[in-house]
């Protein structure tokens, strides 16, 4: 069986005001407090295109390697629903703003995140359209409550071709898109706040045969659930077909509690949307430096080249730069970018310490990150700042403490009591013993106390040396440099 997965993603544009009206865009405001006359579809009101939304769409199109259509059109898509006051949505059905792009994303081949493979999904198009309001069904009182705050907010619909084959790929692709949107600033793309909504189109077929009937899966609220929903639906379809059944071209909702998809009440069915050109909006004309007329008012114009020049580094580029600059592994760069603020944290630590980045990364990914995850904190909320961590790593580099001691100090730093690493070291007496004589004495003492082991080492079993080192460590309460200890022991044993 070959599963085929395509995605329709709606990303809310990050802008101050809505796509066609001046009312504000804000999450979780009191109901119906952000509604302009146009949003409420008062008769006689007209749409006025928001420049920032156009720029966001162009940025996103460029970042996804699309051709930007210099002329795109707006259309009305008609259907009746309580959260659609005008009875139609303004969208771009005939000629969208961007077409024919691609998105590269990476997957781990195994679970250890040690090998990554790059895949590409084609972007069919990006179109600008209005978001609808929200309707809440109150079944007990048989009424529907309508909040129009969201009605008219600008959306970019990104259509990904069915180039994906499983939940993992879909999730990775969406994650990468999310990072790109956040890097561009064109959308905050937080799924939990409804700024990124994903619908999956899933079908299965036998190799060599034509594509199977597809279903659309909606109501997916997180990237994790996306992978689950897609995989469940693939399985469901395979089972259905293998049992001799057929797949209906239907819309299904993902039930996150049960982990399965269920048919949705046929809200739209096979609706005819009666598309019609939007007569109140002239065609959207975009320019590049070549086509820009000389005497044009630049406030009225969107210049594609101007936007292209100002695109920030995309995640792919950022990762490559991290790998090149710091010599870290590609997998590391993924993790750094995957966590909001982590790469900046890492770079700040590197700046402030003499420790090599390749070593710093271990502390960032293993110690810092796992602690944050355990306590459900974001990088921003970390009680240990990059300054403190760098300070600690410097102590380690200067060999003033051992790695074990460093971990202990870090454990103390998490408490966020405001102490510096040095203070903690002094407090807990964790400094490495630098006095060679003292160390030699302790080594000698250990050697003297472990006759059997000494004999074994002298006989050639060098592994036993580690036990002695361990004993010295214990005796010094971790305050000895294992490398130095090893040297001293070896020297003594060879005498």
């Amino acid at each position: 069986w070959v599963p085929v997965v395509g995605l329709e993603i709606h990303a809310q544009i990050s802008s101050n005001s809505k796509l066609f009206s001046g009312s504000q865009v804000q999450f979780a405001a009191p109901p119906n407090s952000l509604v302009s006359f146009f949003d409420a579809s008062l008769p006689g009101t007209l749409p006025v295109l928001n420049r920032r939304c156009v720029e966001a769409a162009v940025m996103t199109g460029l970042a996804l390697n699309c051709s930007i259509n210099k002329k795109s059109l707006f259309d009305r898509k008609h259907y009746f629903y309580a959260d659609l006051p005008a009875g139609y949505q303004i969208t771009q059905q005939r000629v969208p703003i961007a077409v024919n792009g691609s998105l590269s994303y990476s997957l781990c081949i195994d679970s250890k995140m040690s090998q990554m493979v790059t895949k590409t999904v084609r972007i069919k198009q990006i179109q600008l359209e209005q978001d609808s309001g929200k309707s809440l069904h109150d079944d007990t009182r048989s009424q529907t409550l309508v909040d129009l705050n969201r009605a008219g907010v600008g959306l970019m619909e990104v259509v990904m071709e069915p180039d994906m084959c499983c939940g993992e790929e879909a999730a990775a692709a969406v994650r990468e898109l999310q990072l790109i949107l956040q890097t561009l600033g064109s959308s905050q793309a937080v799924m939990a706040e409804g700024q990124l909504r994903v619908d999956a189109n899933v079908s299965v077929h036998h190799p060599g045969e034509p594509y199977g009937v597809r279903t659309e899966v909606k109501n997916i609220n997180s990237i994790r659930f996306l992978a689950k929903a897609v995989d469940y639906e693939i399985q469901r379809q395979i089972e259905e077909l293998e049992n001799g059944g057929t797949i209906l071209n239907e819309t299904r909702a993902f039930d996150s509690k049960l982990g399965c998809t269920v048919p949705m009440r046929d809200k739209e069915g096979k609706q005819d949307y009666r598309f019609m050109p939007e007569p109140n909006l002239p065609p959207l004309i975009l320019y590049d430096t070549k086509s820009l007329p000389a005497n044009m008012n630049h406030q009225q114009v969107v210049n594609i080249d101007w936007i292209r020049e100002r695109l920030p580094d995309l995640p792919r580029v950022k990762r490559a730069k991290l790998v090149e600059r710091y010599g870290i592994l590609p997998e590391h760069s993924f993790t750094l970018l995957n966590e909001d603020g982590l790469s900046e944290f890492f770079e700040n630590v590197v700046k402030q310490t003499q420790m090599k980045p390749k070593k710093v990364i271990g502390w960032i990914l293993n110690d810092l990150l796992s602690y944050l995850k355990q306590h459900s904190l974001t990088v921003k909320e970390s009680p240990v700042s990059s300054f403190l961590l760098a300070d600690l790593l410097n102590l380690l580099e200067k060999k003033e403490i051992s790695p074990t001691a460093a971990k202990q100090v870090l454990g103390e730093l998490w408490k966020g009591e405001g102490k510096t690493p040095l203070e903690i070291v002094k407090e807990k007496k964790l400094e490495l013993i630098h006095d060679q004589k003292e160390l030699e004495q302790i080594c000698q003492a250990v050697i003297d106390g472990q006759e059997n082991e000494v004999m074994a080492i002298k006989a050639g079993n060098l592994k036993v040396l580690n036990k002695l080192i361990g004993l010295v460590q214990r005796k010094t309460q971790g305050r000895s440099n294992p490398v130095l200890v090893k040297q001293l022991l070896e020297k003594k044993l060879s005498e």
């Binding site: 006359f37 409420a40 579809s41 008062l42 008769p43 006689g44 009101t45 007209l46 749409p47 006025v48 295109l49 009305r76 008609h78 009746f80 309580a82 006051p85 005008a86 009875g87 139609y88 529907t144 309508v146 005819d272 009666r274 598309f275 019609m276 007569p279 109140n280 909006l281 002239p282 009225q300």
Partner: protein, 517 residues
């Protein structure tokens, strides 16, 4: 002239306003007004008076009483579109054109009657009843009509005002205001202007903002201007035209208001007479008048040539498809949820929608919605909507070709005949009437061109006949100059209405035509 009178203090804005309000009351039987905003009008008049007293009037329009068709949004004053759907609807904002008038000190007397949602050519299909043409009660008409008995005449013989801006045309014609706003989608300003003997201007599409005008066909609607003389129309145009950021279909270029020159030499003018406008059903009377007008220009030295606009006969069918499609779309917002009439049916959202729309819309509106949705269905879109758009392009190109060949202005009739008696008119349904009546005016809307009706002469029945001039895009100055010249030549008579005479004042008495500029 009234403006000058205001300035010189011969009459005050308040007096003017009161006189108009009182005249509105005496002409109530015309049913030209849906809402009379007496209180606010008097307040505005007071404000204007203050300004005149301190010698700081806002301009020519300061203190001038105006009326506005009831499909323009007026903040605080009911806007109904003559429909049950919007009965009692009080809009929170002013249409841009209304705001502009108010900003220049005009006094808003009230909202005028129309066909429901501007669909119709008689102003007979609104929920507040039909508008009666003031000329029905003129001495000129009464003298010419066959007398049965006094009362029978007045009650059963009254003629329609034309539509859909009939209320505005009747209001201007009966002297209850000095200017009125209408709308023009297929002739809705020019048609009633012709029947009521007033000037009706349809500006170029995109010149005047549609923000706040409740739309019929977004790609053809324009606000229309109704006045008693061409100079007045130019003044109102000057105060309304120009880019509106709230309306993305208005032109960006700066608009410069102009003063109309008094043309004396029209020998360089090239007038076109489109032969297709000798349409089936055109009365011989109007045909003759049209011909005489052409001769008038010829004798004054202008070049008058016959031209052809071959696709004219397709414009009505084309209009049907495009208009109903847009209507179906524009009316989708009337669901009773946010504003307007809401049915008591509450079994489900959908049943509430259906009942609300059935109760709120009349047959004409519902008919157009159904047709429009049919044309927009996926399987029909290509054959109807797209085809109609292509035909529209052909119609527009007809004009382009003619204007490119050197013709500057086209001269055509505005209507097929003079105003029909109401009892005759309603024998045919709205759609049939519109099909017949729009033929001479519709193409200008298709092509977005400016056009103006100038009252020309009285018919044999004593009713007004107007002729239409169509100009090139954004060449309103030229169009109005020619119209003004023509107006001067024909000297159209003043309506002789009892009620107006009773309210006579020096200001009106000695004028041939009472105008404000």
């Amino acid at each position: 002239q009234v403006s000058a009178a205001l300035k010189e203090g011969r009459v005050t804005p308040t007096e003017l306003c009161q006189r108009c309000l009182s005249l509105i009351k005496s002409t109530k039987f015309l049913n030209a007004y849906i809402t009379v905003a007496e209180e606010t009008a008097l307040k505005q008049a007071e404000e204007s008076e203050k300004r005149y007293r301190t010698g700081q009037p806002l301009g020519v329009l300061d203190g001038i009483p105006v009326a506005v068709k009831d499909n323009f949004n007026t903040a605080g004053i009911e806007t109904t579109c003559a429909s049950n759907m919007l009965k009692g609807y009080i809009s929170p904002y002013n249409a841009t054109v209304v705001q502009k008038l108010l900003d220049r000190g005009a006094v808003l007397l009230g909202k005028t009657n129309l066909d429901e949602f501007a669909m119709g050519s008689g102003s007979t299909d609104g929920v507040f009843g039909p508008v009666r043409n003031p000329w029905s009660y003129s001495r000129q008409y009464k003298e010419k009509s066959v007398l049965k008995s006094q009362s029978e005449d007045e009650e059963s013989n009254w003629v329609i005002s034309g539509g859909s801006s009939g209320g505005s045309a009747a209001a201007v014609s009966s002297f209850t205001c000095f200017a009125a706003l209408g709308s023009d989608t297929g002739g809705s300003t020019r048609n009633p202007a012709a029947h009521c003997g007033v000037v009706g201007l349809k500006p170029t599409y995109g010149l005047i903002s549609r923000h706040g005008l409740i739309p019929l066909v977004n790609s053809m609607d324009v606000p229309g201007i109704l006045t008693r003389c061409v100079d007045d129309a130019a003044v109102v145009l000057g105060s309304l035209a120009g880019h509106d950021p709230k309306d993305s279909t208005t032109i960006q270029d700066n608009f410069k208001p102009f003063e109309l020159p008094n043309l004396t030499d029209i020998s360089k003018l090239s007038i076109g007479i489109p032969k297709e406008y000798n349409a089936p059903g055109l009365s011989s009377e109007i045909l003759a008048l049209w011909s005489r007008a052409a001769d008038l220009f010829k004798n004054a030295g202008a070049k008058v040539i016959e031209v052809s606009l071959p696709h004219t006969r397709y414009s009505i069918v084309c209009y049907h498809v495009l208009c109903t499609a847009e209507v179906a779309s524009n009316m989708a917002r009337f669901d009773g949820l946010e504003y307007g009439h809401r049915s008591n049916m509450n079994k489900s959202t959908e049943s509430m929608y259906a009942a609300t729309r059935r109760e709120g819309f009349n047959d004409v509106v519902r008919g157009r919605i159904l047709s429009g949705n049919y044309f927009l269905l996926k399987q029909n879109y290509e054959n109807y909507f797209i085809k109609a758009q292509k035909v529209r392009r052909l119609i527009a190109n007809d004009f382009v070709k003619v204007f490119q060949s050197g013709v500057e202005i086209l001269l055509t009739p505005t209507t097929l005949s003079d105003a029909a008696p109401y009892m005759e008119f309603i024998k045919e349904d709205n759609r049939t009437r519109s099909t017949q009546d729009d033929i001479l005016t519709q193409a200008a809307n298709m092509a977005g061109l400016p056009a103006i009706n100038v009252p020309t002469a009285l018919s044999e029945r004593g009713l007004p006949i107007g002729l239409q001039f169509i100009g090139r895009s954004f060449q309103e100055k030229q169009l109005l100059s020619v119209a003004k010249w023509f107006e001067k030549q024909v000297k159209f008579p003043v309506i002789q209405l009892e009620e107006v005479k009773r309210h006579d004042h020096d200001v009106f008495q000695h004028q041939k035509s009472a105008s404000f500029s």
